[in-house]
């Protein structure tokens, strides 16, 4: 029990004082009266107390004091419940897998998720407040809601086809945490694995309430895929896959991986996979040519969206590249090994030649300008926009952002540099790796357009050039520098936004594979691809029109919660959190009680007169 207003305690303290005053007034006072013989008759006629006076008067006093107490409690804003348990602010994240649909095409988990979330809201106390967040559309209801309002809101929600934007949701939750300091952030989701990495170190207030997915079964998925035509000769690609079985423990399953190009099978692979296992599959040298490459994992299971992978393969275009160097055999060899590059080598001592090369590599010399995409290796006195600060011999500690796409497949563990050139890196470049706090590898855009990668060491000063990571790093850099502009990008994953340079010219986007409704014009922050498949972008011009492919490739989505064997009934939604002690503001209740008590007090007031006064 507690008070919303401290004045309630003062008012309660005043009740005994009022009681004392009242009892003092009603106390029986004995007084001698010299005029007794004069007043005796008067009293006998008019003021003798009835027999019921005493108990009625006591009852009246008790009722009055009770009414006074109720009024004090109402004025103090008494709340019933545990005083040590203050009202909570709860954020309910209403997550569902839009991709998971039942046989009729409806979201399979929607009802379970909303029932669990509404149940959670209904079990809160009336003075708690609830914020409802949907990862696909954002904050609902405009702000904190009463639990009953929140339950009604949740029950009335409709599923959307938009994908869940986990990153944006986490940003929103962090904002709400700063503003409202919630005591509980409950993510109601059929896919706990998607959220677990995000909230793992958030503290005890952040909880996942897993909801069993109705459509889940033993799920096999293509978890990761990479197509590298740049590593191969023209007309050939290398395919890298990671597949997994995400079901409950059980017997291993025979699976097949089929690669087709424009519907024509070009490769097949069979293997067994036990639940919980993942497996890497590589098709190192497939002759493809141009076309739509599709990879299918068979047999089809309850969640087919992660059993397919699509990617367009274009005609090989050779990119002209220029290497300006005095002599750097490891670097030159790594560049010459890349089949997509048509490399021209110029000696630095002969002067920096003019060139129309898309990829330009300057080794030990500063580029004359920022034209084209640049790889600059250890310019001795810096370059335009990058100041040289001196040498650092034998730096020891190497730190790297291994998640960066330029460092994919690259290990810097064996990198030992004899001499590091220390540079002042501008804000447009991102430091991917550093040694002793100095930039080792930096990449980004200079001048707003040119792509630039800076290596702050000479590859000849390290044994690392003999490590497989070196040519991979060079290949990654060259691929990025040779990449065509983003506007021509045609491969996405679920949840990716349509690039802004396309979005402004798009009339509509439809699912060209059929079977799915036209995509909504936009979601939270723009159009996002909600599901895997082929999507046709209808632009105002032929250049802005075209088809893109969207893949899932999200292990957290593929791994759903607690798959149910078909012979077992589906588990009910998880029990809501244990209800906390009842706690409700009782102002109106106590006010009404005070009024009723005062009315009763008047009713039991004993009659005092029996006749008319003289």
């Amino acid at each position: 029990m507690g008070f919303t207003s401290p004045s309630g305690l003062l008012l309660l303290a005043a009740v005994p004082i009022a009681a004392l005053l009242l009892l003092r007034r009603l106390r029986r006072r004995e007084r001698p009266a010299a005029a007794f013989f004069l007043l005796r008759d008067l009293v006998d006629a008019l003021a003798l107390l009835p027999r019921s006076f005493l108990w009625r008067q006591r009852l009246r006093v008790a009722l009055f004091l009770l009414a006074l107490t109720c009024a004090a409690l109402a004025a103090g804003g008494l709340v019933l419940g545990n005083a040590d348990d203050p009202p909570q602010r709860v954020v309910i994240v209403l997550d569902h897998l839009a991709l998971r649909r039942d046989a009729e095409g409806r979201p399979a988990d929607w009802q379970r998720v909303t029932e669990a979330a509404a149940g959670l809201a209904r079990n809160l106390r009336t003075d708690d407040r609830v914020l409802v967040v949907r990862p696909d559309t954002g904050l609902l209801g405009g702000g904190p809601l009463q639990p009953r309002q929140a339950a009604t809101l949740i029950a009335g929600l409709r599923p959307s086809a938009l994908p869940s934007d986990t990153a944006a949701t986490m940003d929103l939750l962090a904002l709400l945490e700063r503003i409202h300091a919630p005591s509980l952030v409950a993510v109601v989701t059929p896919s706990p694995v998607r959220w677990r990495p995000h909230i793992a170190d958030r503290g005890p207030a952040w909880r996942i309430l897993p909801v069993p997915s109705a459509a889940a079964g033993t799920n096999h998925a293509i978890l990761d895929a990479e197509v590298r035509p740049d590593l191969m000769r023209a007309g050939r690609v290398a395919l890298f896959f990671r597949v997994g079985s995400l079901g409950e423990p059980g017997p291993a399953t025979d699976l097949g991986l089929t690669v087709t190009l424009d519907g024509r099978e070009i490769a097949r692979r069979s293997f067994r996979l036990a639940p919980g296992e993942t497996r890497a599959e590589v098709f190192p040298d497939l002759e493809t040519g141009a076309g739509l490459l599709e990879v299918a994992l068979s047999p089809t299971d309850a969640f087919p969206d992660d059993n397919h992978f699509l990617t367009p393969v274009r005609e090989r275009v050779t990119v002209p590249a220029l290497l300006v160097t005095e002599e750097n055999p490891p670097l030159e060899a790594a560049l010459r090994a890349l089949p997509g590059l048509e490399l021209t080598v110029a000696r630095a001592s002969a002067g920096v030649p003019g060139s129309k090369a898309v990829v330009r590599v300057y080794d030990g010399v500063a580029p004359p300008g920022l034209a084209g995409n640049l790889l600059v290796v250890a310019p001795p006195e810096g370059m335009h926009g990058i100041g040289y600060r001196g040498d650092l011999p034998f730096p020891s500690v190497v730190r790297a952002d291994t998640t960066h796409f330029l460092l994919q497949g690259v290990s810097l563990a064996n990198l030992r540099v004899r001499r590091l050139l220390s540079y002042e890196v501008p804000s447009g470049l991102e430091v991917l790796a550093s040694a002793d706090g100095r930039p080792l590898i930096a990449a980004g855009r200079m001048g707003g357009k040119s792509r630039l990668v800076l290596l702050a060491f000479d590859p000849r000063d390290t044994e690392w050039v003999y490590d497989p990571s070196f040519p991979i790093l060079v290949a990654n850099i060259a691929a990025w520098l040779a990449e065509s502009p983003e506007g021509s990008r045609s491969s996405f994953v679920v949840g990716d936004f349509l690039p802004q340079d396309l979005a402004g010219d798009v009339r509509g986007i439809v699912d060209s594979a059929g079977g799915r409704p036209p995509a909504p014009p936009g979601g939270w922050g723009g159009f996002r691809f909600p599901a895997p498949g082929r999507w046709r972008i209808e632009g105002r011009t032929s250049q802005s029109s075209g088809e893109v492919v969207v893949n899932l490739l999200d292990e957290s989505v593929s791994a759903s919660q607690a798959p149910q064997p078909p012979d077992r009934p589906a588990a009910p939604p998880p029990p809501p959190p244990a209800p906390r002690p009842f706690r409700a503001e009782a102002r109106n209740l106590f006010l009404a009680a005070a009024l009723v008590l005062l009315l009763l007090e008047q009713l039991v007031a004993p009659p005092l007169r029996a006749g008319r006064l003289p």
């Binding site: 029986r28 004995e30 001698p32 009266a33 005029a35 007794f36 003798l48 008067q57 005092l608 007169r609």
Partner: protein
Amino acid sequence: MSGLLPLRPAFLARLDAARGLGWRLFRGDQALGAPGAPPEEFEGHRPYFPGDDVRWIDWSLFARREEFYVKVFRADEEVEVVLLLDASPSMTGGRALKYRTAAAAGAALARLALLTDHPVRVARYAGRLLDVAGPWRSPDDIAAVQRHLAETPPRGEGTNLAQALDPLVTGRQRPVSLVMLTDGFQEAPLVSALLQALARGARRAALVRVIDPDDLSPALRGRTVLRDPEGPGRRDLFADRALEEAAHRRIAHHFQLLGEALAGIGAPLHELPVGRPFEEAFLDMLRAAAPAPHA
């Protein structure tokens, strides 16, 4: 309960100066030689004291000597002043303020009586006559009177003036001037008792009513047990404002009737409130009892 209200020397001096008023207080208009009254013999002159009735100034002597002298008559007979002090429980209850005020007034009146050559006796009564002391005849006896009045009176129940008067007036050879000091609350008929006493030979009767405002306007509102101080009577009541006002009206009406009845039998009623300083209240009462003569 004992002791008199203190009488300071300054008060006694003022009392002595005003002793001329005592004559009128104890003898009434008889001292002026009212028509039908017995003849009085001229005895001589004495110097005028402030407070003496100016009607007794001998103006012819003033014309000759240019000093004030008043005429002194020898009464045809000696009148004894009997001070009847109500010592009933309604007077002596609580802090006995009413009784102590009445006793102080009795001492002051005895002083006036002795200074004006009236023998004094003091009687105390309740439902009956409790004791009688005196007579004292000389001003030298004033201290003895005061000592007697300072003593705690015998305990008595009820108030019945008739029972007390009867032995005081029955068979008396000498005329008696009765001065009763009481609060006036008496269920038995008071006026008829006085009338009976006058019929039996009392020369004069006066009543000094000691007034306690709480007696006239008792606070009754709320729950009260009303107790009779002079008997076993009790009443448990819950009074509101109307009932309280009705009670006050009834008490006031009682004293209005008492005053009218006393006037009817020629017994003056003097009022001495207890709420005021005694000496001031007593002198005011004295002045009201013996108003200045006509010019």
